[in-house]
């Protein structure tokens, strides 16, 4: 079944069972629903790891955080590993403010995220 593609979010499959979701826009209240939908669509059967690559995300608010917290919860239920990578300093700051930086697995690069 064809999945709906987002103008602002790309999806790659570098390896079998690995999905990389890469938003290319600020994640705020107007954009987080698209990210949420994409993550939900991609976290299906056969996916043992989902990587959220934030290289092109220069801003995120609490709606983006909420989307990732929900994704983490769903990943745990589905026995899928969720890894976040390429986080910019300003985006990292909001994770620290919300004290969620230790809740997620956060690595430097996409390669690291795929290989761990």
């Amino acid at each position: 079944m064809a999945k709906q593609q987002s103008e602002y979010i790309s999806v790659d499959r570098p390896e079998q069972g690995v999905v990389v979701v890469s938003p290319s826009t600020d994640i705020d209240m107007s954009r987080s629903p698209e990210l949420r939908t994409t993550i939900r669509q991609e976290m299906g059967s056969g996916v043992h790891k989902m990587v959220v690559d934030l290289e092109e995300v220069h801003y995120m608010d609490s709606s983006g955080l909420a989307t990732l917290v929900e994704a983490m919860r769903n990943a745990s239920k589905a026995d899928t590993k969720l890894v976040i990578c390429n986080m910019h300093e300003k985006v990292s700051a909001i994770f620290e403010i919300a004290r969620l930086d230790s809740f997620f697995t956060i690595v430097g690069s996409r390669d690291d995220a795929v290989s761990i």
């Binding site: 705020d28 209240m29 107007s30 608010d61 609490s62 919860r73 300003k90 403010i97 919300a98």
Partner: protein, 177 residues
Amino acid sequence: MQDKPEIELKLISDPMYLCGARELVGCIARRIGFNDMDCSKIALAVDEALANIIRHGYNKSFDRPIWIGINPIKPSADSIGGIVITIDDEAKQVDPCTMKGRELEDIKPGGLGVHIIREVMDEVRYEKRKKVGMRMIMIKRAARPEESARLSGGACNSNACCVTNVPKKTLGSRSRA
């Protein structure tokens, strides 16, 4: 304490305009003298405040008015200045003291907005406007952490509630999360 804002922006409660409000506030903060990270955090606080109004105050009605007022705090002999941001809406009035975020230990989607605002800004105050709606006043002073300590813990009553920024692990909960 608020004079007429030197800068005022009126927008409707459509999330697509959050980016414009962030850009404006971040740009003014930069001209006032805040560093890049603080500008980003101040813009984040405004974004969270607007999102809370849209989500909770206006129940996701995307055509209601919101006003953002900005006043710089001028540098003086004993102060390096700062920014005062006032956000007015026409949402249902609530007890200002109930405007609190949820406990951070309870990790779940949502409910972080008020916590983020209070963590980022030095002073946050909610008031009932005279006729209709709520007013939020946020103050951020440039650098010098000891500056914020001079801000006294504001009085709390049914029409206004003030919180100064001290390390907060938990911040209760209420409807505008």
